[in-house]
Symmetry: C2
Subunit: 367 residues, 2 copies
Amino acid sequence: MTEYRLTPLAKSLPATVPFVGPETQERAMGRPFEARLGANENVFGPSPHAIKAMAEAGHWMYGDPESHELRTALAAHHGTTVDHIIVGEGIDGLLGYVVRLFVGQGDAVVTSDGAYPTFNYHVAGYGGTLHKVPYREDHEDPAALFAKAGEVDAKLVYLANPDNPMGSWHRGEDIAAAMDALPVQSLLVLDEAYVETAPEGTALPLAWGDPRVIRMRTFSKAYGMAGARVGYAIAAPELITAFHKVRNHFGMNRSAQAGALAALADQAWLTEVKDRVAQARTRIAQIAQENGLLPLPSATNFVTLDCGHDGAFAKAVLDGLVARGIFVRMPFVAPQNRCIRISCGTDDDLNALAAALPDAIAAAKKG
Amino acid sequence: MTEYRLTPLAKSLPATVPFVGPETQERAMGRPFEARLGANENVFGPSPHAIKAMAEAGHWMYGDPESHELRTALAAHHGTTVDHIIVGEGIDGLLGYVVRLFVGQGDAVVTSDGAYPTFNYHVAGYGGTLHKVPYREDHEDPAALFAKAGEVDAKLVYLANPDNPMGSWHRGEDIAAAMDALPVQSLLVLDEAYVETAPEGTALPLAWGDPRVIRMRTFSKAYGMAGARVGYAIAAPELITAFHKVRNHFGMNRSAQAGALAALADQAWLTEVKDRVAQARTRIAQIAQENGLLPLPSATNFVTLDCGHDGAFAKAVLDGLVARGIFVRMPFVAPQNRCIRISCGTDDDLNALAAALPDAIAAAKKG
C-alpha cells in the first residue's frame, strides 16, 4: 500500500481537536497548573456514594450494553419511560451519533457562531454544511437559529441552554414558544448540560416525547463526573431507537454506569454542590469586579468575564493567567472573544485566581 | 416533524446489537447467572495497582484527550514511538473508527464467515459490502482472505489472531508470509485481542510501522479490564494521525486511562493471570472430555468445545447450560456452530459448569 485509501470525506478532513486538553498545555509548560478552571469541570466532585460505586463495579466485566438500570433510574427521575432515553459516552459521543444519523454530505445544519466546537467537529466529520447565526447580546438567539433553519432547510439545529461559553440562558418556556417557528423538517438538538445549576424554569417544559427536539444531559457538570463520560439524551422512542443502529453498544464503562446510578440517587449531594457552585460564582464575580472586569450573569458552573476591550486584550489576560498557573479558556469568536471564562473552583483555586489576575491584567495592559 | 430525516443509510439500517449482554438475559430470566462464562471476560480481574489507580484517578476531571501517558508507556512496552499508537474506547470503538475512515457506501471489505460480529456491524453501519470466506479446519484462512481481498478490491481485511470464537491461532510468521499475497490496496486489520494468552510467536513479527497492517490490542482480556473500555491500535504514524480526524477526542474515561497505565506496569500480575488462564483451560478441557465433548486447542482465555453433532444439538446444550445458570455463547455459523464457547472462570465457576453440563447434555440428547 503506497497511500491509504481513506474515503474522500475522511481524506478531506483535517486532523484536528475541538479542545486542547490542559494536560497538553502542562506538558508544554513542563509543570502542572495550580488551578484547573478552564474546562468547566466540577471540582466539588461526585457523590461519595458514586465514588464508592465506581470502585466496586467489577472492572473485569463488560458494562450492560443497554445501560438498563441507569436508564430505568433516569426515566423515573424525569417522569418518563425507559424507551425515551439513550445513554452514551458523554454528550460529545451522543452528538456524534445524532449527527451521524441525520447528516450526510452537504446536508445543512444550523448553530450559533461561537457555540460548541465539538458539535461543529462532528458535523464536519460527516460532511455536513454548517450555517451560523450570531449571538444576540451575549445570548443564543433561538428565533434567528430557527429562521436560518428554514432558510437553509437544516436537518439539525444545535442550541445550548444554558449556553457555553457565555453562561447566559433563556427561560424554557421562551424556547418552547420560539419553537413554533422551528421548521417541521428540522430537529432541535437542545444541549442542557448545565441545566442543573440554572434557575428553576430553564429546562424546556415540553413533553419528553415531543418529536421536534432531542435533549442532551450529562453527569459531567453538576454531578461532578466529567472523567466518567456519561451523557444521556431524551427524545421520542422512535428517535431513541435509531441510536441502536449506529452506537458502540459496548462503549460504556461499567464503573461509570454504576457511578452515575449512585450519583443520581444522591440528590442531597447535588443540592450541596449547587450551593457551592453558586458561592463560587459569587466569589469569581467579586474577584472580577475588584480587577475592573465585568462578570456576566451565569446559570452554569462557570462565569464569563468581559475584559472590556477587544479579543487581543482578553487573549493577553488569558495568556497571563495561564503563564501564572491558572488554566482558563475563552470564547472563540468576536465579539464574545472580549471575554474569558472561569470555571467554579475551590477556595484555594479562587485564591490563586485572585492572586494571579492583577498581574495578568497589568501585563496585558502593557501589551 | 412527521418523520425523522435520517440519512438514507441510517434509514436502511436495522436497530440491531452485535451481542446480547448477559444482563439482558438475566432480566428475562428474573435471576442472575451463577457463572459468567460467555463473554470471554477475565474473571481474575485487573492488577490491584490498576484497581487502586482507577479509584484515585479524580473522576471530576476529563481524561487527557491525547491519552499521552498511556500511549507513552505502551510505546515503551512495545519498543516503538508514541505516534504509532492510538487509544480508544475498546477495540470495538477503534474498529468503528477504522471502518469509518476507509469504508463508504458499497466499498468492499473481507472477513471470515463467523468472525467478529461487531466488526461486521460497523461495516454495515458505514454502508460497506462484506465478503466472507469460510474457516479452514476451524482456523482463520489468511490465504483465502487475502485472495478474496484481491478479487473484490477490498479496502479492509479483518483477521483475528488468535481467533474468536474458535480459540485457534496461527504463528505470526505464517501470517507475515501470507501477507505477501495481500493486495497493495488492502489494509489488514489484525485483531490481536487475545495475543497475551497465546504461545510465544503468535504476534505478528513485522515492524510496527508496516503500512499494510493495523494491529488492535486491548486491556479487556488478559489485563482483566473489560469494563474499563481501553483498547489501542498500532500502525504507521500516517494512519494513526487519521484517527484524530474522526475520533471522540474526549471519549476516554479518565480512571480507565489511569488503570490501564497501572495494569501495563504490573507485568507480574499479567504473568500470574496467564498461569491461571492456562489452568482454567485445562480444567475446562477435562470437564468437556468427562462429558464426551471435544475441547479444541485454545490460545485464548476461553475454550471452544465441539459438541459432536449439528448446530441444533450444540444450541440445545447451550440453552441447557443457560437454563441452569451458566452464561455461555456459541459461534454463529455452520460448521463452527456445532461448538459452544466457555470462558475461563474461577474454580467455583467451573465447578458450577461441571455440575450443570451432564444434565444439559442429557436434556439436549432427549431433544
